[in-house]
Structure formats: structure tokens, C-alpha cells
Symmetry: C2
């Protein structure tokens, strides 16, 4: 089936990029649950000649905490294999000499430790959840509106996600709010930004044509079942 | 000047619609301040043959409280002359048999006393200010996303406004947030919605060509200075 779907794939394929939430595990109370077959799939990929990286738009925790959770769920994953928006944002900020005002979840703040945040000349928002108060959004807005050339980075652009106590608004909703307030277009860092995928490819030293991105459970289970690796 | 700007205006003009904030007064601490010349302008208009109505996108107070403030500032204005989004929304809700989930400032809630709010099948948002918490916005979102045909009404679509302690995000920002979250287009009630202006014209029994809308201080002072009325 895989051969029919991707002609020549098995010859040119050199790397795999796996989404995490919804592919490896489902979020929920505590650590969430590993999806059936996903941990053996990761093991099979690691035992193959393929390079393997993981992608997540998780912006409520540092990669360290996030990876520790995945390890508790039984996955053989290390921090250097995981790509998330916050470190990507830090790289962009440093490259462009920008100093951020952060509106992010407390848990992810340590990712920004190395960044100068005095006299901010841009705003970075993540999935700040309860921190998306009227006051905090006003504060981010005022930073932007007072800049000669306002720059807004959004760590992802999700609309909403499900938690055990119901649906929750995601960062994309607040990105749209600030875009309208300041009449600007945010720069999205994270999935599905091409720049974000490119940074993963760069890390593997591969071309897009040599890489397979897996975004849903059915694909990963399919890969496992068909014993491609 | 007015004659040159609006040829034939003085012959066909039968009514005037005045914006309030920025035309009659500037908001600020307490009641704010009346703008110079605006109170005599209102008196002159009232003494003329012209019909006079007032428009506001104020959605933090009932018209009663709002008009009382204007009276304290020296204006001869009564509630029946003032058009604001909340009563217009109530009319729309009743006409369409809709039951709202309200995300509005507490001060404006009495305007919705006559509306059935059980098992809501639409959402109405106003300038809710501090009530635009993450939790309250999630709640409004969940109502919308669970409806077969989600309907969102926004009382105005302002981006931000100035208060004595700085700029504040306005309802339009949260309208955009919910529009993106639910992939819908809100129905705006209030300025600059044509439906809203039409309701004012209907009340006067006038056509648009017979009416002058005044949206800025300079116009109102200009009218006063040129003694058109």
C-alpha cells in the first residue's frame, strides 16, 4: 500500500518527521496516554537507517519537561530530537536582534532565559491559556501599538484543542485578536510554518523530497503495520 | 462653507444624527468632559426644525445611566433620542427568536432583561473589558462551537479606545478572535453597521439623503459656527 501510494519512496526516503500529540499520544489528565502501536513504531524507526525527528506545537512547557513526559509514557526520545516553537523563536529573535515582550505560559518561560527582554521591540505569544487575561492582552497590545514597526510572533496558529474538562481556545485566536487590534500580520513560528519544517530538515541535512512527515495516527500505525522499516 | 460642501443640503436636510463620544464629550475619569461648543450646538439643533438623534457604541452601561452622565455634563438629551447597540441587539434577537449567551459588561446587562437566555442558540459580545477573561471567552466559544449553525453578534467592531490609564482593547478584537476560533463571520450591531443607521432613520421617518451624520468634533463645531440652524 505504501509502495503504491508513494512511488519510489522507499528508495529516496532518508528521514521521518513525526508529529507528537495525536500521533504518539493523546493529551488528557496527567501525562495523557500513549497511542496503541506508537511506541513500537518509534523503536522500529530508530532501528532503521532513517533519521528521525519529532515536531510539536507544545508551548506550555520546556522541551525538557515535555520529553520527560513522553519518556514516562514509554517513548525512547531525547530533547535534541524534538523541535518546538519556543527554541525556534529564540533563534529567530537572536538572528534579528529582537527583544521580546512575552505572553506565554509560565512553564515555557525557561526556554527564553537566554534572551534579552529589556525595552521590548516585539511581542511573542504562545498558548498562554489562563494568562490570556484582558489585562495581559492589553499589555501586549500596548507594546505593539507603541512600536514604530510592530512585530508579532505567534508560536503556532491553532484555533482550539481538547482537554479533559472541555475545548480550550488556542494561541491562533489571540494572534488574530492582536492582528486586528494593531492592523498587522503575525509571523507564525511552529507548525504549519514552512520555516519551522525547514529548520528540522536543516538539522537532518535532508531535502523535503527525502523526508516523510507524519501528522496523524492512522499514518503512523499504517507505517508500522506495513513493516516498511 | 457648508453650502459649498453640500449643495442643496439646507433645503433637503430634515434630520441630524450625532455621534456622542468624541463629538459631544471626551471620555475620561468620572464622567469625562463636554467638548467646547457642543452643548450649545445641541441646543441650536433642538431649537431648529430638524429632527435630532444620538448614536453611540457605548456598551458598558444602560442608556439610562449613559444619558444621566450626558445630562450631568450639561446636555439636554433624553433616553428615547439615544441609539445604542444593546437595544438594537434585543430587537434583532426577538425578531429572529434567538436566545443569547451574553459576554458583556455587567453595567449593560439590564438592557437584556426582557430576553430569554435559557438554552442559548447564539452569542452576543459587547465591550466586556475585564470580563474578557480566558475562561469567559472559552465559555462563549463552547456555546458557539456546539451550535449546528453558530451565530455571533458583536456590539460594535472597535479595535481599541483610550482611557485615562491607557489604551484598552475593544470588542472588535474579541469578535475577530471568536470568528477565527469558530470559522464564522460575526454580525455587527452598532456603528458602522448600515442596519444600525437604518434603525435610526426609521425612527425619524427619514431617508439617508435627508439626514446628516456627524462623526467628529470639527464637523459639529463647524455646523455651530456657520449658524446653519
Amino acid at each position: 500500500m505504501a509502495d503504491a501510494g508513494w512511488p519510489g519512496c522507499s528508495k529516496s526516503l532518508k528521514g521521518v518527521v513525526l508529529d507528537m500529540c495525536g500521533v504518539l499520544y493523546d493529551s488528557g489528565e496527567g501525562d495523557g496516554v500513549a497511542l496503541p502501536g506508537s511506541s513500537p513504531s518509534v523503536e522500529a524507526l530508530k532501528a532503521s537507517d532513517l533519521q528521525l525527528r519529532f515536531c510539536t506545537n507544545e508551548t506550555q512547557a520546556t522541551r525538557e519537561k515535555f520529553v520527560a513526559k513522553l519518556q514516562r509514557l514509554g517513548f525512547d526520545i531525547c530533547v535534541s530530537e524534538v523541535f518546538s516553537p519556543a527554541p525556534a523563536a529564540v533563534a529567530v529573535l537572536k538572528e534579528r536582534g529582537l527583544k521580546p515582550h512575552l505572553l506565554v505560559y509560565d512553564g515555557v518561560l525557561p526556554e527564553f532565559d537566554s534572551v534579552d527582554k529589556t525595552n521590548p521591540n516585539c511581542v511573542v505569544i504562545g498558548d498562554a491559556a489562563e494568562k490570556f487575561s484582558y489585562q495581559n492582552l492589553n499589555e501586549a497590545f500596548r507594546v505593539l501599538i507603541n512600536l514604530e514597526k510592530p512585530v508579532l510572533f505567534s508560536l503556532g496558529q491553532g484555533r482550539y484543542y481538547k482537554e479533559t474538562d472541555g475545548l480550550k481556545l488556542d494561541v491562533g485566536v489571540y494572534m488574530k485578536a492582536l492582528e486586528y487590534a494593531c492592523d498587522l500580520k503575525a509571523e507564525v513560528i511552529g507548525k504549519p510554518s514552512p520555516m519551522f519544517f525547514q529548520s528540522v530538515l536543516n538539522d537532518m541535512g535532508l531535502q523535503p523530497s527525502e523526508t516523510l512527515s507524519v501528522h496523524s495516527t492512522s499514518s503512523v500505525l499504517g507505517l508500522h503495520t506495513s513493516h516498511q522499516f
